[in-house]
Amino acid sequence: MPHYGIAIDTTKCIGCHACRVACQNQNGLAYDQEFNRIVERERGRYPSFAKEFIPLQCNHCENAPCQRVCPTGATYTTKEGVVLVNPKTCVGCKYCVEACPYKMRMIDHHKGIVVKCVMCIDLVRQGGIPACVSTCPTQVRIFGDLDDPNSEISRFVATHRAQPLRADLDTRPRIFYKRS
C-alpha cells in the first residue's frame, strides 16, 4: 500500500493562489473556507532582498496530534497515510483545531464539523492527483508515494533534503518542503 505525501518547492511558488481555489472547488468549499493557504515572508534589504511564498496545508502527520485528541475517533488515518475526518461521527468539539500545531483544520459551521485537506483521496484512488498539485502553474507541489524510493517525490525529497515544517514537534508530517 502506498503512503502518499506531497513535496513543496517554495522557491517556485509565486503566490498565485490557484491551489487555494482549485481546492475549494474540488471540495465544494465556500469562498471563505480553505484547506490550504499561502503565507508571504519578506527578508533582507536590496540587493539581498528576498521573498518567499509558503503554501500550507494539512501535513497528514504520521503522529497526528489531532487524531490523538479526537474524543470520538472521527479523525483517523487511512491505510494510504491520509488523515481524514469522518463527517458522520465528528461532534464539532474543536479540540483537534486547538491541537493542530499547523492550524490547518477548519470548522464548517454549516455542517457543524471540522473539515480539512483530504489530499483529494477520492481523486487519488481513481488514479488522479490532488487538485492543488495539478493546477499549479509553476509545479510547486509534487505528489506521490513516499514508500517508493524511485517515485518522483522520494527522489525530490532525497535530492533536495526537503524537510517537514517544525520537525521538532515530532508530528512526522508527510508534507516536505524545499525552502532554498
Partner: protein, 740 residues
C-alpha cells in the same frame, strides 16, 4: 461495514450503550461516494473566460451545476494549468449581480427590461438613422481581440465602418508594433529550453501566462539562470536568481548598455548577425555612447551588475531569452516603450537567439478556412484607416487599423466624429485613463450598446445592454491562439444551459444584423461558420468539441529564421521607421515625466496585475476578492526609507494625488520596491453601484480600492498614441482618514 440510517441509529442509541458497538459506522469514502452519487457528473472541454487568455479547460458539472475545472494538458497556452481566476470565475456564473435579460436605459442608472426583438429593432432603427445622418464612420466597435474578432469585424464592416478598436492602446501596442518593425511579427519564446531567462518589466506570474510559467518552472529545474528586472520585486522575481531593482522607465538605458558591453567586448553571435540582421554597424555606432557607467546613472543598477549581466547573456547565447514583453515596460507604459521593444529586438539579434532552441520564434498557426464567398458574400471594403488616425500615413501610420487608439474614443465622441458605439468584452470607463473624461465622452454618444453580463461602469451608461451568455453557457468560433509550439485549434462550447435570457455573441450579431439591413452577411449558423473554418484542417467539429483542443500537426522547429520584415532580416535599423522619418535605430529617450528628487512627497505611480485579478471584471467575485482580503493585498507598496520621511507606518492610510485625480489607499511598506515609485495593484476601484456581491463579501466590489486610471492623465504617445500608463507623478501624503 453496513451503513445505518439516522433514524435507526437514534433508535439504537436509545436502547443503550450496546449501540456503541457499531462504532464510527460510515467511512469517509462512503460519505464522499454518497456525495458524488447523488448527482450525475459530466465533463465538458471548453475555453476559460475568466481573463482573455482563453485557457483550455475541462469543466466538470454535477447535475446542472458547475463544479470544477481542470486544465487540458496539451493546450499550448496553459499546458494543463488553471489559475485562481479560472477556478474562481466558475462561481461568477451564479453571481447574483448578473443581468437577467436585455435592458434599456430609461434614466440615469435606471433600466427597463425589454425583449430581444424590441432591443434589436430599436438598435437597428437608431443605428441606421445615425449612419444616414453622420455616415458609417460615425459607428465604432470596441472589442477585446479574440477569435470572434472576425465576426465583430464582419458586422462592423458590413455597416461600412472601419472603426474597430481593441484595448491595445491601453495594453500592448508598442510591444506588437516594435516586434513587427524589428522581426515582422510578435514572437513566442522557447523558455523551457533557455539557459538564461531575463524578464524585463514583464511579470508572467502576476499578469498570468500559465504556459510561460510551466516552461520557466521546467527551465529552472533544469538549471536555467533567471534575472528579473523590475522596479518592484514582482511575483516572478520569487522564481529568479536575481532581482535588479531598476528605476522605473529606464529599461531602455539598461538594454542599450547591455548591447554596448556585448559589442565592445566582441561577444555577439557573429554568424547570426552577419546572416540575419540588417544595420548592425549603425546600431553598434549608436550604442557606443551608452556605457555601463552612463546606464548606472539612469537606471540605478551598478555598472558592474550591467557588465556581468551582459557577459552572462552573451555566455549562454544563443540559448537565452529576454522576454518579448507584454503590458509592462514594453507595453503601453512609457514614452520610450517602443524604443525599448526595438532595443530588445536588437539585443536578441546580437544574442542570435531567433528561431534557436531557448530563444524566440514565430509560432506555427493553423490556416483556418473561410465561408465560400459565392454563397456567403463578404462585406464591402471599408477605408484602410480609422477616425482616430490609425493607419493614416499623416497621423498614426504605425497603429494598425483594427486596433486603433481605444482611449481616443471619448475625444472623438466629444468632437462629434463618433456617434454610435458597440462595446464588447470591454469596460473602457474603468480601464481607460481619467474616468471623468471617458464618461463625458461616452455620454456624448447618441447610441451606446454594451454586451456585458453585469452592469459594469460602461454598461451603466449604455443605452442598451444586450447581455451575452456567460462563457460557460455559450458557443463560440474556432480558436487558434493555443498554437504556441504547435498549430492547435480549440473551441468554446456551453457547459450548462443559460441561466437567464442571454444569448451567445453570434446570435446577438445575427439579431442586430437583421434589423440593420446587413442580414445577408449573416445568413449562416455558427456551426456552418465553424465547419468552414475547420474544413482545410481535416478536423471535424464533433471531434473538436469532444477533445476541446486538437493539435493539427505542424510544430515549431529550430533552424534558420524566416523573418517577415521588408528586408527579410532582423532590422536593427528599421526601414519602416526610416520611411516615416522616425528614429530608426534604438536610441535613448527620456521618460515623459520624472518624480522630483527633492520633494519627499513626489513619486511615480506604477501599476501591475496580481495573479488573482484581471482588468475590471474579477473584483466582484468573492472567491477571488477573498484572496485580497486574506493577504491585505490591495495596499499600495512604498519603500521604507520614503515611508519614514512621510511618517508612514505599515498599514497607514495615504492620500495620493495626481493632476487628474486623487484617492486614498493603505500602504504596504516593503523593501521590494524602488524608492522612486509607489506600486498600485490593478483590478480594484470598481465604481459601478451594481457590483454588490463582492462588496458584501470582503475586499471587492463597488467602492473598494483605487485604480491607476484615476490618476493617469490622458496621454497619446506621439508615435503610437498609447496611454503611457506609468507616466504618472503623484503626491503622497499620510492620511488620517481610512482607505482600502
Amino acid at each position: 461495514m453496513p451503513t445505518i440510517s439516522r433514524r435507526k441509529f437514534l433508535a439504537a442509541s436509545a436502547v443503550g450503550t450496546a449501540a456503541l458497538a457499531v462504532g464510527p459506522y460510515v467511512s469517509f469514502d462512503a460519505w464522499a461516494k454518497a456525495q458524488n452519487e447523488s448527482q450525475e457528473t459530466k465533463v465538458t472541454p471548453t475555453l476559460c473566460g475568466a481573463c482573455d487568455n482563453w485557457c483550455a479547460i475541462n469543466v466538470h458539472t454535477k447535475g446542472d451545476r458547475v463544479w470544477k475545472a481542470e486544465g487540458i494538458p496539451g493546450a499550448g497556452k496553459n499546458l494543463g494549468g488553471v489559475c485562481a481566476k479560472g477556478h474562481g470565475f466558475l462561481h461568477e456564473l451564479y453571481n447574483p449581480d448578473r443581468i437577467r435579460g436585455p435592458l434599456k436605459r430609461v434614466g440615469p442608472d435606471k433600466f427597463e427590461a425589454i425583449s430581444w426583438e424590441q432591443a434589436f429593432k430599436e438598435i437597428g432603427e437608431k443605428t441606421l438613422a445615425i449612419k444616414e445622418k453622420h455616415g458609417p464612420q460615425s459607428i465604432f466597435w470596441l472589442t477585446h481581440p479574440q477569435a470572434n474578432h472576425s465576426l465583430n469585424g464582419r458586422f462592423l464592416h458590413a455597416l461600412g465602418s472601419s472603426n474597430m478598436f481593441s484595448h491595445g492602446s491601453t495594453c500592448f501596442m508598442p510591444r506588437n508594433v516594435g516586434w513587427w518593425l524589428t522581426v515582422g511579427g510578435k514572437p513566442e519564446m522557447d523558455l523551457e529550453h533557455s539557459r538564461m531567462i531575463v524578464l524585463l518589466g514583464r511579470n508572467p506570474a502576476g499578469g498570468l501566462n500559465l504556459g510561460s510559467l510551466r516552461e520557466i518552472s521546467r527551465a529552472r529545474s533544469n538549471g536555467a539562470r533567471m534575472v528579473v528586472v523590475d522596479p518592484r520585486f514582482n511575483e516572478s522575481a520569487s522564481l529568479a536568481d536575481r532581482w535588479l531593482r531598476i528605476r522605473p522607465g529606464t529599461d531602455l538605458a539598461l538594454v542599450l548598455a547591455l548591447s554596448h558591453v556585448i559589442i565592445e567586448e566582441g561577444r555577439w553571435q557573429k554568424e547570426f548577425v552577419e546572416k540575419y540582421t540588417e544595420g548592425f554597424a549603425e546600431f553598434a555606432a549608436e550604442v557606443k555612447k551608452y556605457t555601463p557607467a552612463w546606464a548606472q546613472e539612469k537606471t540605478g543598477i551598478s555598472a558592474a551588475e550591467i557588465v556581468q549581466l551582459a557577459r552572462e547573456l552573451a555566455g549562454y547565447a544563443p540559448r537565452v531569452c529576454v522576454h518579448r514583453g507584454y503590458h509592462g515596460a514594453m507595453g503601453t507604459q512609457y514614452k520610450n516603450s517602443l524604443q525599448l521593444v526595438r532595443a530588445v529586438g536588437c539585443l536578441s539579434g546580437l544574442l542570435g537567439n531567433f528561431n534557436q532552441p531557448g530563444g524566440l520564434y514565430f509560432p506555427p498557426k493553423p490556416k483556418l478556412g473561410k465561408l465560400d464567398p459565392k454563397d456567403y458574400p463578404k462585406p464591402p471594403e471599408v477605408p484602410d484607416h480609422m477616425s482616430d488616425g490609425s493607419g493614416d500615413p499623416d497621423r498614426y501610420p504605425l497603429v494598425p487599423a483594427g486596433n486603433g487608439i481605444a482611449h481616443a474614443i471619448p475625444e472623438l465622441a466629444l468632437k462629434g466624429e463618433l456617434k454610435a458605439g458597440f462595446v464588447y468584452h470591454s469596460n473602457p470607463i474603468r480601464t481607460n485613463p481619467n474616468p471623468a473624461r471617458v464618461i463625458a465622452g461616452y455620454k456624448k454618444l447618441e447610441l451606446l450598446v454594451s454586451f456585458d453580463y453585469v452592469l459594469s461602469e460602461t454598461a451603466t451608461i449604455a443605452h442598451y445592454i444586450l447581455p451575452e451568455a456567460f462563457y460557460l453557457e455559450s458557443d463560440d468560433v474556432v480558436y487558434t491562439s493555443h498554437s504556441v509550439r504547435s498549430a492547435q485549434v480549440s473551441i468554446r462550447q456551453p457547459v450548462v444551459k443559460p441561466l437567464y435570457d442571454t444569448k451567445p455573441l453570434f446570435e446577438i450579431l445575427k439579431g442586430m444584423a437583421g434589423n440593420l439591413g446587413i442580414g445577408e452577411y449573416f445568413k449562416f449558423t455558427l456551426e456552418e461558420y465553424n465547419r468552414a473554418s475547420l474544413a482545410p484542417l481535416h478536423v471535424t467539429l464533433e471531434r473538436l468539441k469532444k477533445e476541446g483542443v486538437i493539435d493539427t500537426g505542424s510544430r515549431w522547429e529550430p533552424g534558420p529564421p524566416k523573418l517577415k520584415t521588408p528586408s527579410g532580416k532582423l532590422e536593427m535599423v528599421s526601414s519602416i521607421l526610416k520611411d516615416y522619418g522616425l528614429p530608426a535605430i534604438p536610441t535613448w529617450e527620456e521618460p515623459l515625466v520624472m518624480p522630483d528628487p527633492k520633494d519627499p512627497h513626489s513619486f511615480r505611480l506604477i501599476h501591475g496585475k496580481q495573479a488573482h485579478h484581471t482588468h475590471a471584471r474579477t473584483g466582484n467575485q468573492p472567491y477571488l476578492t477573498e484572496i485580497t482580503t486574506l493577504n491585505d493585498w490591495a495596499r499600495v507598496w512604498i519603500h521604507p526609507d520614503r515611508a519614514k520621511l512621510l511618517g508612514l507606518r505599515d498599514g497607514d492610510c495615504m492620500s495620493i494625488t495626481s493632476t487628474v485625480g486623487k484617492g486614498r489607499a493603505r500602504c504596504r511598506i516593503t523593501e521590494g520596491i524602488h524608492p522612486d515609485c509607489i506600486f498600485l495593484p490593478s483590478g480594484y476601484g470598481m465604481f459601478s453601484r451594481h457590483f454588490k456581491f463582492g462588496k458584501k463579501h470582503g475586499q471587492g466590489g463597488y467602492g473598494f480600492g483605487i485604480s491607476y486610471n484615476d490618476f493617469l492623465p490622458t496621454y497619446f504617445d506621439p508615435v503610437l498614441g498609447h496611454t503611457m500608463g506609468n507616466e504618472i507623478i503623484v503626491r503622497v501624503e499620510k492620511s488620517t482618514t481610512r482607505g482600502a
